[in-house]
């Protein structure tokens, strides 16, 4: 068979109707426009700052702050630096985000399951909860809890007398709980807890290998609980209970600052609002996740003779979680970002003390806003890295 002569490749010439050429032109234009845009912003900012006599730089972080903060987990006073204020704000943000996520998950799962309940009353209560709280602005809810619920509570002086020991008290000064104080020997309890975690992980791995090899299941949950709770508890008792609870004490005007664990009302209000608001969204995610599991799965499990408990645990929940976890993570992220609304009621979070008080004192707007945004961007980035890892892990393995 005669060889068909291959036609010569078309001459490379410039043509605007060539998709590739056009694409390159577009990209060059895009780069040029963006470069010009960024350059003009930087140039304008520089000349404006010079005209106002502001100098760009992060030296101010070493300056003494001179103001006090109502809640700090690390030592802080008026002589600390602005850099320390940054860390206090960051820690306070992370604290409320962490506790808020845990509580919102609990409440959200409860309400989400309630929305699927066959019980008419529970079903309707859950529906009303979701429709009420997710359609009202979060800021309004924060104001409501703070100004309308917590602030009108009686003051500490009205219900406590001076010198009274306070084990539990709720006033407009916040919530007062006894403070746990570790004594010598408590380190052993912590060590036992650490050993428990490691042992539980090892046991879970061994149990999985065993199940893969023989099909026999081990009581992982009970062993894990035993290792995590019973072991430290036993050590705690053996060491002679090396921890005491110290109650608060009522002073002349308010409870003694250094005794007991005082939770400031700003924290309580913000936490309540964030939890109630986010739980409404989590409930919808949970409901959608459980409903996404095909009914045939439950029927197949029943046909195999699984009882309702194991059906839920081994068939429905693992599949529902695959749908639930990604939007759940983005709700956690939303909660973290929404915690910046703290600034409206002056809970000392990152935005409130750093982008608020420090910005007003130093006037370093550009530096402070860049730093603050970087913190939130980092949190988002870490979360999305985790999400990609998780999605990769639970992805359906298809033939």
């Amino acid at each position: 068979m005669a060889e068909i002569p291959t036609s010569a490749p078309p001459k490379q010439s410039f043509s605007f109707s060539d998709k590739k050429t056009r694409g390159q032109i577009y990209q060059v234009i895009t780069i040029a426009v963006i470069a010009w845009f960024i350059w003009s912003i930087i140039a304008n900012t520089a000349s404006n700052m010079e005209a106002q006599g502001i100098h760009f730089g992060f030296d101010f972080l070493k300056t003494e702050s001179g103001f006090s903060i109502i809640q700090s987990l690390i030592p802080y006073d008026e002589t600390s630096t602005y850099g320390r204020v940054f860390f206090i704000g960051l820690i306070n943000t992370l604290l409320i985000a962490f506790i808020g996520c845990i509580l919102a998950t609990f409440l959200g799962f409860l309400v989400g399951i309630g929305r699927l309940s066959s019980n008419w009353v529970i079903n309707k209560i859950s529906t009303i909860y979701v429709e009420l709280f997710r359609n009202v602005p979060l800021l309004l809810q924060i104001f409501f809890w703070y100004h309308a619920v917590l602030k009108p509570l009686p003051g500490p002086r009205e219900i406590h007398s001076k010198g009274e020991a306070l084990w539990f008290s709720v006033t407009n000064n916040g919530v007062l709980l006894p403070k746990p104080i570790a004594e010598s020997g408590f380190g052993f309890v912590l060590a036992a807890f650490g050993i428990g975690i490691i042992a539980a992980i090892l046991y879970a791995r061994k149990a999985k290998t065993k199940q893969m090899a023989t099909g026999q299941r081990s009581p992982v949950l009970w062993v894990t609980l035993g290792l995590l709770l019973a072991l430290p508890a036993a050590v705690f008792l053996i060491m002679g209970s090396p921890m005491v609870l110290e109650p608060g004490e009522m002073g002349t005007f308010r409870p003694d600052k250094y005794k007991g664990l005082n939770i400031i009302p700003e924290f309580v209000a913000l936490l309540l609002a964030l939890v109630v608001y986010t739980a409404a969204f989590i409930a919808e995610i949970v409901r959608a996740g459980i409903q996404s599991v095909n009914h045939g799965q439950t029927e197949a499990a029943n046909a195999l003779g699984l009882r309702p408990g194991p059906t839920l645990k081994l068939v429905v929940i693992p599949q529902a979680l695959r749908v639930i976890i990604p939007p759940l993570t983005s709700q956690y992220l939303n909660l973290t970002k929404n915690s910046s609304l703290a600034t409206a009621i002056a809970y000392p979070d990152l935005v409130s003390v750093f982008a608020g008080t420090v910005l007003n004192q130093t006037g370093k707007a550009v530096e402070i806003i860049i730093l603050t945004m970087l913190v939130y961007l980092t949190i988002s980035l870490v979360t999305s890295i985790f999400m990609n890892w998780y999605n990769e892990r639970v992805k359906l393995v298809e033939r």
Partner: protein
């Protein structure tokens, strides 16, 4: 079958006996309660707990908001009854809640814009009179009629020649659009309204043309301001979101990278920091001599922020369109924009309607954040009014919060309800 041979089958009754009524405890109210309330011991306990909760919550709430509430009289009436809602507070201050410090003699312009907004939106909504949409149309009819009566009564009070001229113009434009929409499909009218309305509203509210006096944006406030911010965000975020979503799926690496960076940046930071940035840094970005007012700064921040969220929602829709649709469009010889505009986008946007509407709802709720940078939005105007010394009564702040919650709830729930309605209407049975 019937008795042909009565001798053989004499003792057997061949006719079926009448059916027995089902057991009394499986039908009617009792049966319903047994199935839905007391199907198991656990369910019975939960039902009782739920009912107890409702019993604790509902009567006091109803008493506080309605039966014991103060509906008339001045602040004295509320002082006399501080343990129930003080609706006279809302009655006394409602103009401030809606207009803020907008010039009193010019408030008819705001009325006209709000009236046109609600009536135009209501007119676009119902597409065809099927059984499913009839209740919608009825409710919307009542809303339109009620608002129009309210509006006309206010207009008569103002009675300015220019006003009547403008009202006439709005009615004519609305009617033309409506008639055109009947012929060409309402979704197109929707797009036109989306473009036209903000322009008309801008000229009407701001003034300076048509012989209208200028009203400084610093004086805009209350619910007007909330709507201005929300609508700007909505109108800006749709086209920007479409462009960003296309950019993020583009084959050109530079466009893809720029869009991704832009989207991830705005989605990664809280709206407050965006507003702080708009408020503190935007003036620094401008070249010398250019000033931008506080409202415009907030609007820019909100628009950028919401377009990033919108882009992600639309990208989800684009990803759901199978490749065959693109290839089909290309084989017909459609250009990129025609392929997107005629084939891909209509399908993609239809899929993500719930996502788009929930972005709108989120944006609408987030407009309250502007009070942190000192704008007098609806929430801020109510809160400002509660600090008035004449109204320093225990029940007033609660009443204010309930009022704001109610207004936001009605709007957000309305949007969610409309989105469900739209989803059903556009469902062509091709659910993927």
């Amino acid at each position: 079958m019937s008795n042909k041979n009565p001798n053989k089958m004499g003792v057997v009754n061949l006719l079926p006996l009448p059916e027995l009524a089902p057991p009394g405890n499986t039908v009617g109210a009792v049966g319903w309660m047994k199935n839905n309330l007391f199907s198991s011991p656990l369910n019975s306990i939960l039902t009782l707990l739920g009912l107890a909760l409702l019993y604790i919550l509902i009567p006091p709430v109803l008493n506080w908001t309605m039966f014991d509430a103060v509906w008339s009289g001045g602040s004295e009436a509320c002082k006399a009854n501080p343990d129930a809602a003080c609706w006279t507070f809302a009655g006394e201050w409602w103009e401030f809640f809606i207009y803020g410090f907008y010039d009193k003699t010019q408030r008819w312009r705001v009325d006209l814009v709000l009236w046109a907004l609600y009536v135009w939106v209501a007119f676009i909504i119902p597409e065809n009179e099927s059984r499913a949409t009839r209740p919608t149309s009825t409710i919307l009819g009542f809303v339109i009629a009620g608002l129009s009566v309210l509006f006309i009564s206010m207009a008569i009070k103002h009675n300015i020649p220019t006003m009547w001229l403008l009202i006439g113009a709005m009615v004519v434009i609305g009617t033309v659009l409506w008639a055109w929409g009947l012929k060409n499909g309402r979704s197109r009218v929707g797009i036109i309204v989306l473009v036209l309305f903000p322009i008309i509203a801008y000229f009407l509210l701001g003034g300076g043309t048509l012989g209208l006096s200028v009203v400084n944006t610093n004086d805009w406030g209350g619910f007007l301001l909330t709507l201005v911010i929300a609508i700007t965000g909505i109108v800006a975020s749709l086209p920007l979101g479409v462009l960003l979503a296309l950019g993020r799926r583009s084959e050109m690496p530079v466009l893809r990278m720029v869009s991704t960076l832009f989207i991830e940046f705005w989605r990664g930071v809280p709206l407050i920091t965006v507003l702080f940035m708009a408020s503190f840094m935007l003036p620094l970005f401008m070249s010398k001599g250019v000033t931008i007012d506080q409202l415009l700064r907030a609007l820019i921040g909100v628009a950028l922020f919401s377009s990033a969220y919108m882009a992600e929602v639309i990208r989800g829709g684009l990803q759901a369109i199978p490749k065959g649709q693109y290839e089909g469009a290309q084989s017909l010889g459609l250009s990129f924009w025609k392929m997107m505009g005629l084939i891909v986008m209509p399908q993609a946007l239809k899929i993500v309607i719930p996502g788009i509407v929930s972005t709108f709802i989120g944006l609408f709720k987030d407009t309250t954040l502007v009070l942190i940078i000192g704008l007098l939005d609806f929430l801020n105007s109510v809160q400002t009014a509660t600090t008035n010394p004449e109204w320093s009564i225990k029940s007033v702040p609660y009443t204010g919060y309930v009022l704001v919650a109610l207004v936001f709830w009605v709007h957000c729930y309305g949007m969610a309800w409309y989105s469900r309605h739209l989803e059903n209407k556009l469902d062509t049975g091709h659910k993927r």
